[in-house]
Protein backbone atom coordinates (compact mmCIF):
# COMPACT_ATOMS: atom_id res chain seq x y z
CA UNK A 1 0.00 0.00 0.00
CA UNK A 2 1.33 3.43 -0.94
CA UNK A 3 2.00 5.94 1.82
CA UNK A 4 -0.60 8.39 0.55
CA UNK A 5 -3.23 5.64 0.40
CA UNK A 6 -2.37 4.48 3.93
CA UNK A 7 -2.64 8.06 5.21
CA UNK A 8 -6.03 8.44 3.49
CA UNK A 9 -7.31 5.27 5.17
CA UNK A 10 -5.94 6.42 8.54
CA UNK A 11 -7.62 9.81 8.12
CA UNK A 12 -10.92 8.07 7.26
CA UNK A 13 -10.57 5.76 10.22
CA UNK A 14 -9.63 8.59 12.61
CA UNK A 15 -12.53 10.78 11.50
CA UNK A 16 -14.98 7.84 11.74
CA UNK A 17 -13.88 7.07 15.31
CA UNK A 18 -13.88 10.75 16.27
CA UNK A 19 -17.45 11.16 14.99
CA UNK A 20 -18.58 7.95 16.70
CA UNK A 21 -17.13 9.28 19.97
CA UNK A 22 -20.17 11.59 20.12
CA UNK A 23 -22.11 8.56 21.39
CA UNK A 24 -20.09 8.85 24.60
CA UNK A 25 -20.49 12.62 24.83
CA UNK A 26 -19.60 15.73 22.86
CA UNK A 27 -15.83 16.13 22.92
CA UNK A 28 -12.92 17.88 21.23
CA UNK A 29 -12.19 15.03 18.76
CA UNK A 30 -15.82 15.05 17.59
CA UNK A 31 -15.83 18.83 17.12
CA UNK A 32 -12.57 18.79 15.13
CA UNK A 33 -13.89 16.00 12.86
CA UNK A 34 -17.23 17.75 12.43
CA UNK A 35 -15.63 21.05 11.40
CA UNK A 36 -13.07 19.31 9.16
CA UNK A 37 -15.89 17.47 7.39
CA UNK A 38 -17.90 20.63 6.77
CA UNK A 39 -14.81 22.52 5.57
CA UNK A 40 -13.66 19.72 3.28
CA UNK A 41 -17.17 19.24 1.84
CA UNK A 42 -17.51 22.97 1.12
CA UNK A 43 -14.06 23.17 -0.50
CA UNK A 44 -14.57 20.05 -2.59
CA UNK A 45 -18.07 21.11 -3.65
CA UNK A 46 -16.90 24.56 -4.75
CA UNK A 47 -14.09 23.15 -6.86
CA UNK A 48 -16.32 20.56 -8.56
CA UNK A 49 -19.02 23.13 -9.27
CA UNK A 50 -16.52 25.57 -10.78
CA UNK A 51 -15.00 22.83 -12.97
CA UNK A 52 -18.43 21.71 -14.15
CA UNK A 53 -19.64 25.22 -14.88
CA UNK A 54 -16.66 25.62 -17.20
CA UNK A 55 -17.28 22.20 -18.82
CA UNK A 56 -20.87 23.18 -19.64
CA UNK A 57 -19.91 26.65 -20.89
CA UNK A 58 -16.74 25.87 -22.84
CA UNK A 59 -18.36 24.52 -26.02
CA UNK A 60 -21.08 27.17 -26.52
CA UNK A 61 -18.59 29.97 -25.80
CA UNK A 62 -16.16 28.46 -28.32
CA UNK A 63 -18.99 28.50 -30.88
CA UNK A 64 -19.31 32.25 -30.28
CA UNK A 65 -22.67 32.09 -28.50
CA UNK A 66 -21.99 35.25 -26.44
CA UNK A 67 -25.25 35.18 -24.48
CA UNK A 68 -23.86 32.33 -22.36
CA UNK A 69 -21.68 34.94 -20.65
CA UNK A 70 -24.90 36.18 -19.02
CA UNK A 71 -24.99 32.97 -16.98
CA UNK A 72 -21.56 33.84 -15.54
CA UNK A 73 -22.82 37.32 -14.61
CA UNK A 74 -25.94 35.75 -13.06
CA UNK A 75 -23.83 33.25 -11.10
CA UNK A 76 -21.45 35.90 -9.81
CA UNK A 77 -24.44 37.94 -8.62
CA UNK A 78 -24.69 35.52 -5.71
CA UNK A 79 -21.73 37.42 -4.19
CA UNK A 80 -23.94 40.51 -3.72
CA UNK A 81 -25.17 38.62 -0.66
CA UNK A 82 -22.17 40.15 1.13
CA UNK A 83 -22.98 43.73 0.06
CA UNK A 84 -25.31 45.92 2.11
CA UNK A 85 -25.98 48.34 -0.76
CA UNK A 86 -26.44 45.83 -3.57
CA UNK A 87 -27.99 42.96 -1.66
CA UNK A 88 -31.09 43.25 -3.87
CA UNK A 89 -29.06 42.07 -6.86
CA UNK A 90 -28.50 38.76 -5.05
CA UNK A 91 -32.23 38.07 -5.42
CA UNK A 92 -31.98 37.76 -9.23
CA UNK A 93 -30.00 34.48 -9.39
CA UNK A 94 -32.11 33.09 -6.53
CA UNK A 95 -35.32 34.03 -8.34
CA UNK A 96 -34.00 32.55 -11.59
CA UNK A 97 -33.00 29.22 -10.01
CA UNK A 98 -36.20 28.84 -8.00
CA UNK A 99 -38.37 29.89 -10.93
CA UNK A 100 -36.58 27.43 -13.19
CA UNK A 101 -36.94 24.60 -10.68
CA UNK A 102 -40.63 25.28 -10.13
CA UNK A 103 -41.25 25.44 -13.87
CA UNK A 104 -39.52 22.10 -14.44
CA UNK A 105 -41.02 20.32 -11.44
CA UNK A 106 -44.61 21.56 -11.19
CA UNK A 107 -45.61 21.01 -14.81
CA UNK A 108 -44.73 17.33 -14.68
CA UNK A 109 -45.78 16.74 -11.07
CA UNK A 110 -49.42 17.14 -12.09
CA UNK A 111 -49.18 13.99 -14.17
CA UNK A 112 -46.71 11.92 -12.11
CA UNK A 113 -47.83 12.69 -8.60
CA UNK A 114 -51.48 13.51 -9.04
CA UNK A 115 -53.26 12.19 -12.14
CA UNK A 116 -51.15 9.04 -12.48
CA UNK A 117 -51.48 8.26 -8.77
CA UNK A 118 -55.28 8.59 -8.97
CA UNK A 119 -55.38 6.33 -12.01
CA UNK A 120 -53.20 3.64 -10.42
CA UNK A 121 -55.00 3.75 -7.05
CA UNK A 122 -58.44 3.43 -8.60
CA UNK A 123 -57.42 0.61 -10.94
CA UNK A 124 -58.14 -2.38 -8.70
CA UNK A 125 -56.62 -5.53 -10.13
CA UNK A 126 -56.08 -7.73 -7.06
CA UNK A 127 -56.49 -7.83 -3.27
CA UNK A 128 -53.34 -5.75 -2.66
CA UNK A 129 -54.63 -3.00 -4.94
CA UNK A 130 -57.98 -3.07 -3.12
CA UNK A 131 -56.26 -2.73 0.28
CA UNK A 132 -54.20 0.20 -1.05
CA UNK A 133 -57.34 1.89 -2.40
CA UNK A 134 -59.12 1.49 0.97
CA UNK A 135 -55.98 2.75 2.77
CA UNK A 136 -55.66 5.85 0.59
CA UNK A 137 -59.35 6.71 0.84
CA UNK A 138 -59.66 6.21 4.61
CA UNK A 139 -56.34 7.97 5.37
CA UNK A 140 -57.42 10.96 3.29
CA UNK A 141 -60.78 10.94 5.05
CA UNK A 142 -59.03 11.13 8.43
CA UNK A 143 -57.75 14.60 7.44
CA UNK A 144 -61.13 15.72 6.09
CA UNK A 145 -62.38 18.04 8.80
CA UNK A 146 -65.24 19.86 7.07
CA UNK A 147 -67.74 17.42 8.60
CA UNK A 148 -67.81 15.82 12.02
CA UNK A 149 -66.52 12.22 12.15
CA UNK A 150 -69.60 10.54 13.67
CA UNK A 151 -71.23 7.14 13.22
CA UNK A 152 -70.00 5.32 10.11
CA UNK A 153 -67.61 8.16 9.31
CA UNK A 154 -65.94 7.72 12.69
CA UNK A 155 -65.24 4.10 11.74
CA UNK A 156 -63.86 5.14 8.34
CA UNK A 157 -61.63 7.72 10.01
CA UNK A 158 -60.44 5.10 12.54
CA UNK A 159 -59.47 2.70 9.74
CA UNK A 160 -57.57 5.59 8.15
CA UNK A 161 -55.54 6.20 11.30
CA UNK A 162 -54.63 2.48 11.47
CA UNK A 163 -53.32 2.67 7.90
CA UNK A 164 -51.35 5.79 8.78
CA UNK A 165 -49.85 4.10 11.85
CA UNK A 166 -48.89 1.11 9.70
CA UNK A 167 -47.18 3.43 7.22
CA UNK A 168 -45.31 5.26 9.99
CA UNK A 169 -44.22 1.93 11.47
CA UNK A 170 -42.93 0.73 8.10
CA UNK A 171 -41.10 4.02 7.64
CA UNK A 172 -39.55 3.73 11.11
CA UNK A 173 -38.46 0.14 10.45
CA UNK A 174 -36.86 1.19 7.17
CA UNK A 175 -35.05 4.04 8.92
CA UNK A 176 -33.65 1.66 11.55
CA UNK A 177 -32.51 -0.66 8.75
CA UNK A 178 -30.78 2.24 6.99
CA UNK A 179 -28.94 3.36 10.12
CA UNK A 180 -27.80 -0.16 10.98
CA UNK A 181 -26.56 -0.60 7.40
CA UNK A 182 -24.58 2.60 7.75
CA UNK A 183 -22.99 1.35 10.97
CA UNK A 184 -22.22 -2.01 9.34
CA UNK A 185 -20.52 -0.20 6.46
CA UNK A 186 -18.36 1.87 8.81
CA UNK A 187 -17.51 -1.10 11.05
CA UNK A 188 -16.54 -3.27 8.08
CA UNK A 189 -14.22 -0.44 6.97
CA UNK A 190 -12.72 -0.16 10.46
CA UNK A 191 -12.29 -3.91 11.00
CA UNK A 192 -11.10 -5.06 7.59
CA UNK A 193 -9.18 -2.18 6.02
CA UNK A 194 -5.50 -2.02 6.78
CA UNK A 195 -4.30 0.20 8.49
CA UNK A 196 -7.75 1.53 9.62
CA UNK A 197 -7.99 -0.95 12.50
CA UNK A 198 -4.71 0.27 14.03
CA UNK A 199 -6.62 3.25 15.41
CA UNK A 200 -9.30 1.17 17.19
CA UNK A 201 -7.15 0.36 20.28
CA UNK A 202 -6.02 4.01 20.37
CA UNK A 203 -9.67 5.15 20.34
CA UNK A 204 -10.63 2.65 23.07
CA UNK A 205 -7.68 3.81 25.22
CA UNK A 206 -8.65 7.47 24.76
CA UNK A 207 -12.27 6.61 25.64
CA UNK A 208 -11.22 4.92 28.89
CA UNK A 209 -8.95 7.86 29.78
CA UNK A 210 -11.90 10.21 29.13
CA UNK A 211 -14.27 8.13 31.29
CA UNK A 212 -11.63 7.93 34.07
CA UNK A 213 -11.07 11.70 33.99
CA UNK A 214 -14.83 12.33 34.05
CA UNK A 215 -15.18 10.17 37.17
CA UNK A 216 -12.26 11.93 38.85
CA UNK A 217 -13.87 15.31 38.17
CA UNK A 218 -17.16 14.12 39.72
CA UNK A 219 -15.42 12.90 42.89
Amino acid sequence: METIEALTVLAGSGITLALLSYLWRENLAFRIAEHAYIGAAAGYGTLVLAENAWRLLEAPLARGEWYWYLTIVLGLSYFFFFSKNYFWLYRYPIAYVIGNDIGVVVARSVKTQFLEQIRVTTTITDLNAAIIAVGVFTALFYFYSTMEHKGVFRGVSKIGIYFLMGAFGASFGATVMARISLLIGRLRFLYFTEPAYYLIPVAILLLFIGIFMDRRKKT
Binding site: L23, W24, A41, Y44, G45, V48, L49, N52, A53, R55, L56, E58, A59, V97, N100, D101, V104, V105, R108, S109, K111, T112, Q113, E116, Q117, V120, A167, A170, S171, A174, T175, V176, M177, A178, I180, S181, L182, L183, I184, G185, R186, L187, R188, Y191
Partner: protein, 284 residues
Protein backbone atom coordinates in the same frame (compact mmCIF):
# COMPACT_ATOMS: atom_id res chain seq x y z
CA UNK B 1 -44.23 5.28 43.13
CA UNK B 2 -41.56 3.40 44.98
CA UNK B 3 -38.77 5.12 46.85
CA UNK B 4 -35.34 5.49 45.28
CA UNK B 5 -34.00 2.40 47.03
CA UNK B 6 -36.87 0.12 45.98
CA UNK B 7 -37.03 0.57 42.23
CA UNK B 8 -38.35 -2.38 40.25
CA UNK B 9 -36.43 -3.97 37.38
CA UNK B 10 -38.77 -2.34 34.86
CA UNK B 11 -38.21 1.11 36.39
CA UNK B 12 -34.45 0.61 36.39
CA UNK B 13 -34.62 -0.49 32.76
CA UNK B 14 -36.51 2.66 31.80
CA UNK B 15 -33.87 4.85 33.42
CA UNK B 16 -31.00 2.95 31.82
CA UNK B 17 -28.21 5.15 30.44
CA UNK B 18 -28.70 5.15 26.65
CA UNK B 19 -24.96 4.55 26.19
CA UNK B 20 -25.42 0.95 27.36
CA UNK B 21 -27.84 0.50 24.46
CA UNK B 22 -25.19 1.85 22.05
CA UNK B 23 -22.63 -0.63 23.43
CA UNK B 24 -25.13 -3.48 23.11
CA UNK B 25 -25.94 -2.60 19.47
CA UNK B 26 -22.22 -2.27 18.72
CA UNK B 27 -21.53 -5.73 20.16
CA UNK B 28 -24.52 -7.35 18.43
CA UNK B 29 -23.36 -5.98 15.09
CA UNK B 30 -19.64 -6.55 15.60
CA UNK B 31 -19.81 -10.26 16.47
CA UNK B 32 -21.46 -11.44 13.20
CA UNK B 33 -19.20 -9.13 11.15
CA UNK B 34 -16.09 -10.74 12.62
CA UNK B 35 -17.55 -14.25 12.82
CA UNK B 36 -20.38 -14.71 10.24
CA UNK B 37 -23.19 -17.01 11.37
CA UNK B 38 -24.70 -17.69 7.94
CA UNK B 39 -28.34 -16.80 8.59
CA UNK B 40 -30.31 -17.98 5.51
CA UNK B 41 -31.10 -15.02 3.22
CA UNK B 42 -34.79 -15.94 2.81
CA UNK B 43 -36.99 -15.46 -0.22
CA UNK B 44 -35.88 -12.84 -2.74
CA UNK B 45 -38.27 -9.89 -2.68
CA UNK B 46 -40.40 -9.24 -5.79
CA UNK B 47 -38.90 -5.73 -6.03
CA UNK B 48 -35.37 -7.10 -6.46
CA UNK B 49 -36.63 -9.86 -8.74
CA UNK B 50 -38.45 -7.30 -10.92
CA UNK B 51 -35.28 -5.29 -11.50
CA UNK B 52 -33.11 -8.38 -12.06
CA UNK B 53 -35.51 -9.92 -14.59
CA UNK B 54 -35.95 -6.67 -16.49
CA UNK B 55 -32.18 -6.18 -16.87
CA UNK B 56 -31.66 -9.86 -17.65
CA UNK B 57 -34.16 -9.75 -20.51
CA UNK B 58 -32.77 -6.61 -22.16
CA UNK B 59 -31.08 -7.20 -25.52
CA UNK B 60 -27.34 -6.57 -25.57
CA UNK B 61 -26.22 -2.99 -26.25
CA UNK B 62 -29.42 -1.58 -24.68
CA UNK B 63 -28.70 1.70 -22.93
CA UNK B 64 -29.05 1.99 -19.16
CA UNK B 65 -28.68 5.28 -17.31
CA UNK B 66 -27.16 4.98 -13.83
CA UNK B 67 -27.73 8.03 -11.64
CA UNK B 68 -25.34 8.22 -8.68
CA UNK B 69 -26.99 10.26 -5.95
CA UNK B 70 -25.53 8.47 -2.96
CA UNK B 71 -23.87 10.59 -0.30
CA UNK B 72 -21.28 8.92 1.94
CA UNK B 73 -24.17 8.40 4.40
CA UNK B 74 -26.09 6.28 1.88
CA UNK B 75 -23.15 4.60 0.15
CA UNK B 76 -22.99 1.68 2.58
CA UNK B 77 -26.44 0.63 1.34
CA UNK B 78 -26.39 1.78 -2.29
CA UNK B 79 -22.84 1.05 -3.44
CA UNK B 80 -23.01 -2.78 -3.16
CA UNK B 81 -26.21 -2.70 -5.24
CA UNK B 82 -24.64 -0.43 -7.85
CA UNK B 83 -21.68 -2.79 -8.09
CA UNK B 84 -23.91 -5.87 -8.42
CA UNK B 85 -26.03 -4.26 -11.15
CA UNK B 86 -22.87 -3.14 -12.97
CA UNK B 87 -21.54 -6.74 -12.92
CA UNK B 88 -24.87 -7.86 -14.37
CA UNK B 89 -24.91 -5.23 -17.14
CA UNK B 90 -21.33 -6.08 -18.13
CA UNK B 91 -22.21 -9.78 -18.30
CA UNK B 92 -25.20 -8.95 -20.51
CA UNK B 93 -23.22 -6.61 -22.78
CA UNK B 94 -25.40 -3.59 -22.04
CA UNK B 95 -24.37 0.02 -22.51
CA UNK B 96 -24.14 2.09 -19.35
CA UNK B 97 -24.30 5.87 -19.12
CA UNK B 98 -23.28 7.17 -15.70
CA UNK B 99 -23.78 10.52 -14.14
CA UNK B 100 -23.62 11.97 -10.62
CA UNK B 101 -26.38 14.28 -9.45
CA UNK B 102 -24.48 15.44 -6.36
CA UNK B 103 -20.84 16.36 -5.93
CA UNK B 104 -20.06 13.78 -3.25
CA UNK B 105 -21.41 10.96 -5.45
CA UNK B 106 -18.73 11.47 -8.14
CA UNK B 107 -16.14 9.08 -6.61
CA UNK B 108 -18.69 6.26 -6.43
CA UNK B 109 -18.93 6.08 -10.22
CA UNK B 110 -15.17 5.73 -10.56
CA UNK B 111 -15.23 3.17 -7.74
CA UNK B 112 -17.78 1.02 -9.62
CA UNK B 113 -15.85 1.28 -12.90
CA UNK B 114 -12.53 0.41 -11.27
CA UNK B 115 -13.94 -2.53 -9.29
CA UNK B 116 -15.94 -4.02 -12.19
CA UNK B 117 -13.96 -3.00 -15.30
CA UNK B 118 -10.55 -2.54 -13.70
CA UNK B 119 -10.18 0.90 -15.33
CA UNK B 120 -12.14 4.07 -16.03
CA UNK B 121 -11.57 6.07 -19.22
CA UNK B 122 -8.57 3.86 -20.17
CA UNK B 123 -10.78 0.80 -20.60
CA UNK B 124 -10.97 -0.34 -24.25
CA UNK B 125 -14.79 -0.29 -24.16
CA UNK B 126 -14.96 3.19 -22.66
CA UNK B 127 -16.80 5.41 -25.14
CA UNK B 128 -18.32 2.31 -26.76
CA UNK B 129 -20.19 0.58 -23.93
CA UNK B 130 -19.54 2.84 -20.96
CA UNK B 131 -19.58 6.61 -20.59
CA UNK B 132 -19.25 8.64 -17.42
CA UNK B 133 -20.79 12.09 -17.75
CA UNK B 134 -19.53 13.14 -14.32
CA UNK B 135 -21.44 15.62 -12.24
CA UNK B 136 -24.49 17.41 -13.61
CA UNK B 137 -25.67 20.20 -11.33
CA UNK B 138 -29.22 21.06 -10.26
CA UNK B 139 -30.50 17.49 -9.83
CA UNK B 140 -33.90 17.55 -11.52
CA UNK B 141 -33.21 20.44 -13.88
CA UNK B 142 -29.94 18.73 -14.85
CA UNK B 143 -31.73 15.47 -15.59
CA UNK B 144 -34.30 17.33 -17.68
CA UNK B 145 -31.48 18.71 -19.79
CA UNK B 146 -29.83 15.31 -20.19
CA UNK B 147 -33.13 13.57 -20.95
CA UNK B 148 -33.90 16.01 -23.75
CA UNK B 149 -30.38 15.91 -25.23
CA UNK B 150 -27.69 13.32 -24.40
CA UNK B 151 -25.01 15.77 -25.55
CA UNK B 152 -26.23 18.29 -22.98
CA UNK B 153 -22.87 18.27 -21.13
CA UNK B 154 -20.80 18.36 -24.37
CA UNK B 155 -17.98 16.45 -22.69
CA UNK B 156 -17.68 13.45 -20.38
CA UNK B 157 -16.16 13.48 -16.88
CA UNK B 158 -12.64 13.12 -18.33
CA UNK B 159 -12.91 15.92 -20.90
CA UNK B 160 -13.64 13.73 -23.97
CA UNK B 161 -16.02 15.03 -26.62
CA UNK B 162 -19.33 13.10 -26.45
CA UNK B 163 -20.21 13.59 -30.12
CA UNK B 164 -17.17 11.60 -31.21
CA UNK B 165 -18.09 8.55 -29.11
CA UNK B 166 -19.32 5.30 -30.65
CA UNK B 167 -21.70 4.88 -27.69
CA UNK B 168 -24.14 7.45 -29.09
CA UNK B 169 -23.77 6.78 -32.83
CA UNK B 170 -26.74 4.44 -33.38
CA UNK B 171 -29.09 6.07 -30.88
CA UNK B 172 -31.99 7.30 -33.02
CA UNK B 173 -33.32 10.24 -31.02
CA UNK B 174 -30.38 11.14 -28.76
CA UNK B 175 -32.77 11.67 -25.86
CA UNK B 176 -34.23 9.61 -22.99
CA UNK B 177 -36.51 7.65 -25.32
CA UNK B 178 -33.34 5.77 -26.43
CA UNK B 179 -32.75 4.50 -22.89
CA UNK B 180 -34.22 1.20 -21.72
CA UNK B 181 -33.87 1.86 -18.02
CA UNK B 182 -32.86 4.66 -15.66
CA UNK B 183 -31.57 3.42 -12.29
CA UNK B 184 -31.37 5.80 -9.36
CA UNK B 185 -28.90 5.11 -6.52
CA UNK B 186 -29.30 7.25 -3.43
CA UNK B 187 -31.38 8.24 -0.45
CA UNK B 188 -32.99 11.57 -1.25
CA UNK B 189 -35.84 10.96 -3.70
CA UNK B 190 -36.69 9.00 -6.81
CA UNK B 191 -39.82 10.94 -7.78
CA UNK B 192 -37.91 13.29 -10.06
CA UNK B 193 -36.56 10.45 -12.22
CA UNK B 194 -40.10 9.14 -12.75
CA UNK B 195 -41.24 12.71 -13.42
CA UNK B 196 -38.54 13.62 -15.95
CA UNK B 197 -37.70 10.30 -17.60
CA UNK B 198 -40.44 7.69 -17.16
CA UNK B 199 -43.60 9.73 -17.71
CA UNK B 200 -42.43 11.96 -20.58
CA UNK B 201 -40.17 9.48 -22.43
CA UNK B 202 -41.52 6.06 -21.43
CA UNK B 203 -38.19 4.84 -20.03
CA UNK B 204 -38.90 2.81 -16.86
CA UNK B 205 -37.14 3.61 -13.61
CA UNK B 206 -35.29 1.24 -11.27
CA UNK B 207 -33.60 1.92 -7.98
CA UNK B 208 -30.83 0.92 -5.66
CA UNK B 209 -31.92 2.97 -2.71
CA UNK B 210 -31.30 3.46 0.99
CA UNK B 211 -33.96 1.81 3.13
CA UNK B 212 -35.28 5.18 4.36
CA UNK B 213 -36.50 5.92 0.84
CA UNK B 214 -38.32 2.64 0.27
CA UNK B 215 -41.75 3.68 1.57
CA UNK B 216 -41.70 6.63 -0.84
CA UNK B 217 -41.08 4.39 -3.85
CA UNK B 218 -44.05 2.07 -3.42
CA UNK B 219 -46.56 4.56 -4.91
CA UNK B 220 -44.64 4.21 -8.21
CA UNK B 221 -44.10 0.46 -8.04
CA UNK B 222 -44.58 -1.50 -10.30
CA UNK B 223 -46.18 0.68 -13.00
CA UNK B 224 -43.37 3.29 -13.23
CA UNK B 225 -40.59 1.80 -11.09
CA UNK B 226 -40.19 -1.75 -12.39
CA UNK B 227 -38.13 -2.89 -9.40
CA UNK B 228 -35.66 -1.64 -6.82
CA UNK B 229 -33.10 -2.79 -4.30
CA UNK B 230 -34.29 -2.00 -0.82
CA UNK B 231 -31.23 -0.97 1.19
CA UNK B 232 -28.53 -3.46 2.12
CA UNK B 233 -31.03 -6.34 1.99
CA UNK B 234 -31.93 -5.63 -1.64
CA UNK B 235 -28.26 -5.31 -2.56
CA UNK B 236 -27.51 -8.64 -0.86
CA UNK B 237 -30.35 -10.30 -2.76
CA UNK B 238 -29.02 -8.97 -6.07
CA UNK B 239 -25.49 -10.12 -5.23
CA UNK B 240 -26.85 -13.61 -4.60
CA UNK B 241 -28.90 -13.58 -7.80
CA UNK B 242 -25.86 -12.81 -9.94
CA UNK B 243 -23.89 -15.32 -7.84
CA UNK B 244 -21.36 -12.77 -6.66
CA UNK B 245 -21.89 -12.55 -2.89
CA UNK B 246 -19.89 -9.58 -1.62
CA UNK B 247 -20.14 -6.75 0.88
CA UNK B 248 -23.94 -6.60 1.21
CA UNK B 249 -24.38 -10.36 1.62
CA UNK B 250 -21.59 -10.33 4.23
CA UNK B 251 -23.40 -7.63 6.19
CA UNK B 252 -26.77 -9.40 6.35
CA UNK B 253 -26.01 -11.43 9.50
CA UNK B 254 -25.19 -8.22 11.33
CA UNK B 255 -28.27 -6.54 9.85
CA UNK B 256 -30.57 -9.37 11.00
CA UNK B 257 -29.12 -9.54 14.53
CA UNK B 258 -29.10 -5.74 14.84
CA UNK B 259 -32.80 -5.69 13.97
CA UNK B 260 -33.52 -8.47 16.42
CA UNK B 261 -31.77 -6.55 19.21
CA UNK B 262 -33.74 -3.39 18.39
CA UNK B 263 -37.06 -5.29 18.25
CA UNK B 264 -36.31 -6.80 21.69
CA UNK B 265 -35.47 -3.35 23.06
CA UNK B 266 -38.69 -1.87 21.60
CA UNK B 267 -40.73 -4.67 23.20
CA UNK B 268 -38.95 -4.17 26.57
CA UNK B 269 -39.41 -0.40 26.33
CA UNK B 270 -43.14 -0.83 25.68
CA UNK B 271 -43.51 -3.33 28.53
CA UNK B 272 -41.78 -0.81 30.80
CA UNK B 273 -44.02 2.00 29.58
CA UNK B 274 -47.22 -0.04 30.07
CA UNK B 275 -46.08 -1.29 33.50
CA UNK B 276 -45.29 2.23 34.74
CA UNK B 277 -48.61 3.53 33.35
CA UNK B 278 -50.55 0.75 35.07
CA UNK B 279 -48.66 1.45 38.28
CA UNK B 280 -49.41 5.19 38.14
CA UNK B 281 -53.10 4.49 37.36
CA UNK B 282 -53.26 2.06 40.29
CA UNK B 283 -51.67 4.60 42.62
CA UNK B 284 -53.96 7.46 41.51
Amino acid sequence: MGTKGSKSFIEKLQELDVRYVYVLVLLVITVPILRPIGIPPGKTSPETLGLYRYIDELPSKSVILMIADQSPAAAAECQPGMLAIMYHTVAKGLRVLFYASRTDAIPYIDDVMVKVLGKTSDHPDYGKLYVNLGYIPQAEVGLTGLASDVFFTNKDAYGNDLRSMEFFEDLPKKDASDWKLAIYFGASSLDWVVRQVTDPYGCPTGGGVAAVLVTRIYPYYPHSVIGFLSGLKGSAEYELMIQKPAEAAAGMDAQSLGHLAIVIMIVLGNIGYLASRLKSQGGA
